[in-house]
Symmetry: C2
DNA sequence: TTGAAAGCGCTAACAT
DNA sequence: ATGTTAGCGCTTTCAA
């Protein structure tokens, strides 16, 4: 820098008061004479003062920053640079992630906290996250796991670092999380198909390693079983459009007469619709399709997707709120907050 | 915290050396006796020491953090919470953004620098970004503008804050940037269509307010004009699949005989393909389609998209490298780095 | 209500 | 090669 940034000292001199007083004004502490307050504010303006975060953090012990960690399964063998890059891109490919960020930023920003983006795929990566937090670079972590057996939540809990996870950690880990009543979501989908008079329902599931996938499936199946459908054809997908296409193809091979499909997310539902049309089925007249999430594609694709809404933004905001609470209260018992899904009826079912 | 985090002092005591020596070991400074080094490292391990970032930043004047700013047009009237949330989600909806993040993280991470995510849509937001940087919370900014007339680059330049923009700032701003030779990209697409023997080419452009869109169009048009196609039907899109569908519909209305389409990004190309098939055209037999970007959808959609590749990850990494350089050299002249597009031939053309 | 002063944990210049 | 020491800019008792 050509010119040194102005410090509290400079402002104090300019205003003819002490550092402490300026600090009080800056931090909005009461017990400051309004006249002096004005004086100081003017001095701040004149000098163009901006408080140095490092100095403040050093004493407050707060970074006013949280880590937003996208954490994968963590096969150590895959730890190449290529995979890592792809990992980041893949995470962002799902519209789901944009909504998570949206909700988090919505909460953090008014509190002038900021999210630091981190990707953790390998054990080293995860170690780095821990070190990062222990250095106080961020006050806590918001974790979005892409795999069921992500070991990060456990490490975080063990290190007693403030953290909140999106979705319940797979193993029993004493960590706060927000989640959806996935089972209810599956039930809503089943009920809708039944109400439409579907006689041959089937489902495209998410990766069965993911608990959410299993629960959506369970809710769907149980409801159908209770209504005279003991066996429901299913095909596992990978939450991508492509995998939805492939899964639908298998479903059609198993039962060419399917007339109702529940896909465990919108991307796969979209893929299913696409394949059905290619195979000459009209949606929803021949086959009804229900998605999950109510992501942006649900609204924008044609025909518009009937889907089970997951209030991702709200969930993400709640995640941030919980973390904030843990940080400020310095230690809180693990809390979990569950959200209810909602059926959004559009054109496909 | 129940237990105070160990400090340099603690480690020094444990190892029986001075703070300075521990600091040297931690920072890998030479001139340290290997024996003592070992001693210190053991002490670090025993105490579980992690250097406090705030303290270090206070003296080094580095946050080891950069702001990754997604910056919009900034109509002050739209400054509602809803719009903001949508803004974040929208930015992430484009696979382009995931690639940018990928490239940036790929560069930053090995240098243990971290990106802080920020969205700037309103004037207040932009002011916040400036304040944030002036507080030293990040060492510089990587700016991805979603609109041509984004005023942030100018403010950054004026404040002499280290910053690099993705794409040339609209007005003449003395700021570093990386960009693509968009014109060449348009030319590649035109040449491909000509080589295939297309006689009635048309194009779906990006938003014409975006310089990149205009340049791709210019390159496409100029090349065709030089080859006997003075007039080329065009329809403006908005870089989304939907807008691609709508634009293709208009194009078909203007000339039902089109046999070659250049779309200014892959999402729109995908939309165009979709509509063409719905209208009974085979792709590429009846109509050839060329996209732009070579994003993940290009590879995954069927038929796979022939497209003009933009090396987004490399560009983003270069952006980070430039910023890093500016930060370390403390002041560098604005630099621009241009990348060359490349035609990727797949199935649609 | 305001000021003086201690100290947060670290790096770096200087001394040894 | 190692130790001593002076701050970095801020918040926060404690006095006044």
């Amino acid at each position: 820098m050509s010119k040194q940034a102005p410090t509290l000292e400079d402002v104090a001199r300019e205003a003819g008061v002490s550092r402490a007083t300026v600090s009080r004004v800056v931090n909005g502490v009461r017990n400051v004479d309004p006249a002096i307050q004005k004086l100081v504010n003017r001095a701040i303006e004149r000098t163009g003062y901006a408080p140095n975060r490092a100095a403040r953090s050093l004493v407050t012990r707060r970074a006013e920053t949280v880590a937003l960690v996208v954490s994968g399964a963590g096969d150590p063998s895959q730890d190449t640079r290529d995979t890592q890059d792809a990992f980041a891109a893949r995470a962002f490919a799902d519209p789901f992630f944009g909504r998570v960020v949206s909700g988090i930023v919505g909460y953090l920003r008014p509190r002038s906290m900021h999210p630091v983006l981190m990707f953790a795929e390998s054990p080293q990566d995860r170690q780095e996250v821990l070190t990062y937090l222990r250095q106080g670079r961020s006050d806590g972590a918001l974790v979005v796991s892409t795999h069921a057996d992500d070991p990060l939540p456990a490490s975080l809990a063990e290190a007693k670092l403030p953290a909140v996870s999106f979705a319940r950690p797979a193993r029993e880990v004493p960590l706060s999380y927000v989640d959806l009543e996935h089972r209810h979501g599956g039930r809503l989908a089943a009920e809708r198909l039944l109400a439409r008079g579907c006689r041959r329902p089937a489902t495209v599931t998410g990766p069965l390693a993911v608990p959410a996938s299993r629960e959506r499936l369970a809710g769907f199946r149980d409801t159908l079983a209770r209504n005279g459908h003991p066996h429901v054809p299913m095909a596992e997908g990978g939450f991508t459009t492509d995998s939805g296409i492939a899964a639908m193809e298998r479903l059609l091979a198993e039962d060419p007469e399917v007339d109702g499909v529940f896909a465990a997310n919108d991307l796969m539902a979209q893929g299913a619709c696409q394949l059905l049309r290619e195979r000459g089925r009209r949606v929803p007249d021949d086959v009804a399709v229900i998605g999950f999430d109510d992501s942006v594609v649900a609204r924008s694709c044609t025909p518009a997707l009937t889907t089970v809404r997951q209030p991702v933004e709200q969930m993400a905001a709640e995640m941030a709120r919980l973390l904030d609470e843990h940080i400020r209260l310095d230690r809180t018992d693990p809390t979990c907050v569950l959200f209810e899904p909602e059926l959004i009826v559009r054109e496909t079912a």
